[in-house]
Symmetry: C2
Subunit: 161 residues, 2 copies
Amino acid sequence: MKHTISVLVNNRPGVLARTAGLFARRGFNIDSLAVSTTQDPDVSRMTIVVEGPDAVLEQISKQLYKLMDVIKVLDHQDEAVVNRELALIKVDASPAVRGEIMQTVSIFRANIVDVSDRTFTIEVTGSADKVDALTGLLSKYGIREMMRTGRIVLSRGAPTA
Amino acid sequence: MKHTISVLVNNRPGVLARTAGLFARRGFNIDSLAVSTTQDPDVSRMTIVVEGPDAVLEQISKQLYKLMDVIKVLDHQDEAVVNRELALIKVDASPAVRGEIMQTVSIFRANIVDVSDRTFTIEVTGSADKVDALTGLLSKYGIREMMRTGRIVLSRGAPTA
């Protein structure tokens, strides 16, 4: 089962390596990871998407708490969340298929953010499923390059704290 | 100077920990990091934003190449790129300020993706500057929670390869 885990950490060198090391030692491959600052510049937030048995991931969450500079660990498994990711996709776009690609982009409420003689670069935001669906449709034209941010989540509703 | 470095790696456990460890040993703090799959499921791409002297970061790029499972390292320093990040921002939104916040959101072409009695959750996509500007404007209402994906980049134009 895929888990999305948020880890709030002090913004210091080494904490990322320690966290990644914990997953690696268990042989878990991280599906996606996003690390960035929060509203507090001293605190960073990691969002980790990882697949594995519930019991083992629960154990890892507990071990994360013991790492230096880890402030808070949240497994969003049973929670209503807003989840989003962003992708940039560079796709072959010969004149003959440009109209077709632009229609698809518009249906997905995506944007074309760069154009060359032979390619479009498309920006899309949404759930992983939505990004997968768009890349699936675009793959027949030929995807040259692609970069996804990995998932970020915020719990729905007002904070309880 | 801030550098944006892309690292293409084999999608295997441990490669993230090794890469993060390399930066940590040099005492570099990573500003943001995005790791996700590419169009090839066996290959992941990391986008690392890090600040430091040009010469030292050049050295680190060379050392990254020597790590197991690292395929390609690109410093986007002198290149024209499309750069984007995504943020989710949960902001206090009492009835008295809702109209005001909605205007700001609309000017930034951002979206309100969740609403509660007391809060809005806003999704925004753009350069780091744009995200900073919006969070700056929203901070007066009270930011409850915030998550950014970290920057991703694709080079402009058609691939040369």
